[in-house]
Symmetry: C2
Subunit: 177 residues, 2 copies
């Protein structure tokens, strides 16, 4: 088993086309620039169309975001919106299904549902999660099952798993967002 590098790596990936689903990541009040940087790298890898940073989220230009994100904050389209709830409203008006990654009573397992053609995933502050005000504006919430003593994962890890799962989920549902 030889690891692939350079051009053969590029060719390898070309054999695996991206599913045809638009994906936006919204980071609400994500304070840690390490999480923001790692999320930019995820956004690049999954070819997300946009990263929306809201509230008190760390944002470029920031040395740690660029370092951890390997410069992807300069490759991935992003914007800042102070008010997350308003940003959710806008995305929904544009036809996005906006889903919070949050454990609520009616949250659905991220791998147990279908998704529409345009999805925005919202993650919240490292300790406090997505605010209630923002949750109320979302179309719903999804969660990752967890089995440990802790009830959470690292934010950028959780977002990565959820985004990867949503992007590759089989059916594009016809349900209006």
């Amino acid at each position: 088993m030889k690891p692939l590098r350079g051009i053969s790596l590029k060719r390898f990936f070309q054999k695996h086309p991206r599913p045809d689903r638009e994906l936006v990541l919204m980071l609400q009040d994500v304070e840690d620039p390490v999480n923001v940087g790692a999320s930019f790298r995820t956004a690049d890898a999954l070819r997300c169309s946009q990263v929306v940073l809201t509230g008190i989220s760390a944002r470029p230009p920031h040395k740690l975001i660029t370092k951890v994100g390997r410069g992807k904050d300069r490759r991935v389209r992003w914007r800042y919106a102070e008010d997350s709830a308003a940003a959710v409203d806008e995305l929904r008006a544009e036809g996005f299904e906006v889903l919070a990654l949050e454990i609520t009573e009616d949250a659905i397992r991220v791998d147990a549902r279908s998704y529409s053609a345009r999805v925005c995933l919202v993650v919240g502050h490292e300790d406090h999660g997505v605010t209630r005000r923002t949750l109320e504006r979302c179309d719903g919430s999804v969660f990752l099952p967890m089995y440990g003593k802790g009830a959470s994962m690292n934010l950028s890890v959780a977002l990565g798993i959820a985004a990867y799962t949503v992007l590759h989920a089989g059916k594009v549902s016809d349900a209006p967002p």
Copy 2:
């Protein structure tokens, strides 16, 4: 949508039992304590039976591992092995299917195969990946499809996605590891 906390959160998770597959994470030469810490947190969340740190991997006790891992380095069983290749041999002898998260010519998409009842996932150094010597001892390799300008994700994010996918993969294959 009200976020769940405390006891209602615990009850919520109890409704989603863990799949019956043993999972071990091996980190070869993972230098960044932030990645090691986040991986401990993932290991706790997925109830991995063990984390094996090898080579020059950062290891506890380490302030950043504990901080990023929210103390999970004290909850999750772990051990250090200098020689990754030997550690792979040992795990295979114990009946584990040992798979590198690495893009090799014969790598299989992580979500396109079945797994045996005991799986060890091996990730390598942030820049250099799993060494050839270790790769040669593994049963095979798996990869995550990527669609961006970069050809990799943050290590702890990639490991999280792969580990989550392996744990939840439907069939337990009968193939001898």
